[in-house]
Symmetry: C2
Subunit: 360 residues, 2 copies
């Protein structure tokens, strides 16, 4: 079967041919429909993130997949069920505590592999197998865009953790600020613009980028009802003066200075949740002032990575509620596996791309 | 009546004579028994914290008081009731939202004054008045040590906020690390060593200091069942290798580098709560690595200041459960108002001092 992989020593994806996998009992054979590409995939190819499966000289890419059950073996699934899958898997050796708790997103480094990212093959192939517990059923209405459930689930987890961190007092956030206008940032912004029971809705949202107009992402930001903030004109530290101090920050840039600048961006009692993956980078800060500000104004910084099945369920709900135009505008390219290298191109006219193996 | 105050332009407390206050209806007149002194009082006299009441050329010190109701006026209190009081009061102008919510500890700067700290006189006088809602009744068993309810309440709030920040997953912390062996640090350590229903009990605790043995605080740390960590031998960043990465950090040093070093001290999914008040101080950090570490290991940093009535209630419970030897060893000096300057002395043989105005 066809698969899209990166070979050791190379920095471009290539199409390879490998045997179709056979499911064991308790596993499900899935026919892949679509696999989304995000910043992590680019980092896996050439960045601070990721690692080949042990002993392999290539890694199959992709961790955002939607597919159809072909062979359910002994599982609860039926042939034809539509599914998406979680990313983390138990390690060859090490603790499985967090998997036993169904919270693999909280497992420490070394106690997991991540399919398509660290130490395990991904889903960018015509078929893949998965244990039952790592598959989440989705309705047929998500056959085309279901691959978005995985990235949305990461935002759902991060937002949940941020709200939990403010749950010991009466927190009534009005303003939310997404740092980064990449796919994850835009998906998070769409969540903040939703009118959801649990979180209510932010009265005012902002999204940070560094693009000139006209620009596809700025159009989306505005159409969502949000305000675009150009970091070249309005550094984070000036956000309170130019717009307002914000109650909630969702960091999705991987730009480490933002972590520390965001203390000034936050309103009293505010929380910033961090999702970007930075490379090593030393710089100076006024650590004394930041410390004092965090204490005297009860501010919080929360790191968040990955997600588990509950967050996938929340993500299904969000995705189903997103306006259709938003998803249409977000997906800027659908590519056959044979043209995978095109799917990995970047540019100001590209937001999110997909490799399509098949349709329902 | 006698009062201990700091005069504008001076950096030593002095005894002054001022008229005894008269309570209005809804206020309570309290005869002061004891007022504790902590790091904040020293900062008020000569540090980064505090400010005189508007128009006053002196500030009465003290924010940790226990006293007896002398005149309850129209309130629910009765003559002879023992009370402690909270610190924050509504400002002359500004929002009273957080006072209306009974969460004044979450009010932003400018929306409160703090008796004995910022913009209002403290309690270090023979009598003081207070609105009913800012007084917390305590049992007669706390007549001597009830002034400790206020500092303990700050630790209770901080610990609550930290646990809330980890409430969205199954967090089972085993190790706690208090940074700082001052009075607040030791009180926090005693809380962590308690077997309390809500938090369980930490299996292993550590307390950071920079003292040579023999030392009073190191003796207390050991007798509490905790391990002393000398920061000159074991910097925070080496804590995981020398002892272990810790699930929970309670920062009570006001040393800003600790905020950033603590990211390395924390175990995966760990949380650090920050209470120290730093002065401006610029230094370099590997911000990229810290950012990545916080994200990939789900770590959290939480600032926390002050407390409200619920935390005072929790503090009463903790204080009542503390071993008697601990309190005895913690209080290294009880001084009459006339010798207040002695109560403000510092040194390695001094942990916590008290000004005693009267006894029950």
């Amino acid at each position: 079967m066809k698969a899209v992989a990166v070979q050791r020593g190379e920095t471009e994806p290539t199409l390879i041919n490998i045997p179709q996998p056979t499911p064991n009992d308790g596993e499900v054979l899935v026919r892949t429909l679509r696999v989304g590409i995000d910043g992590t995939d680019h980092e896996v190819i050439s960045g601070p993130h990721g690692g080949y499966p042990e002993g392999a000289d290539y890694q199959i890419l992709g961790h955002e997949a939607v597919g159809v059950v072909v062979d359910p073996t002994t599982t609860k699934f039926s042939e034809g069920d539509l599914v998406v899958r979680t990313v983390r898997r138990p390690p060859e050796s090490g603790s499985t505590l967090y998997f036993d708790r169904d919270e693999p997103d909280m497992a420490p480094g070394g106690d997991y592999v991540e399919r398509g990212i660290v130490g395990a093959h991904g889903y960018m192939s015509e078929y893949f197998t998965s244990p039952e517990r790592f598959l989440v059923p989705v309705p047929e209405s998500l056959a085309v865009y279901g691959f978005l459930v995985e990235p949305i689930s990461n935002a759902e987890k991060a937002i949940e953790h941020a709200f939990a961190a403010r749950s010991d007092f009466e927190w009534t956030p009005e303003s939310g600020f997404v740092l980064g206008n990449g796919p994850l940032g835009l998906l998070a912004l769409a969540i903040l613009e939703q009118d959801r029971g649990v979180y209510g809705r932010f009265d005012r949202t902002y999204c940070l980028g560094r693009r000139d107009e006209p620009d596809l992402t700025i159009d989306i930001i505005r159409r969502l009802g949000s305000t675009y903030v150009d970091s070249r004109e309005t550094p984070l530290t000036e956000m309170p003066g130019v717009h307002e101090p914000v109650d909630f920050v969702f960091e999705a840039t991987g730009y480490a200075r933002h972590v520390f600048e965001t203390v000034d961006t936050l309103a009293p009692n505010g929380v910033a949740v961090l999702l970007g993956i930075s490379e090593d980078w030393s710089f100076g800060i006024d650590g004394g002032r930041l410390h004092r500000e965090m204490v005297l104004e009860n501010k919080a910084l929360i790191g968040s990575v990955n997600s588990h099945v509950d967050h996938f369920e929340a993500a299904k709900e969000s995705l189903s509620a997103f306006p259709h135009w938003f998803i249409d505008d977000l997906i800027t390219g659908v590519h056959a596996p044979e043209e995978a290298s095109r799917a990995f191109e970047t540019g100001d006219d590209i937001i999110k791309t997909v490799v399509e193996f098949d349709t329902l």
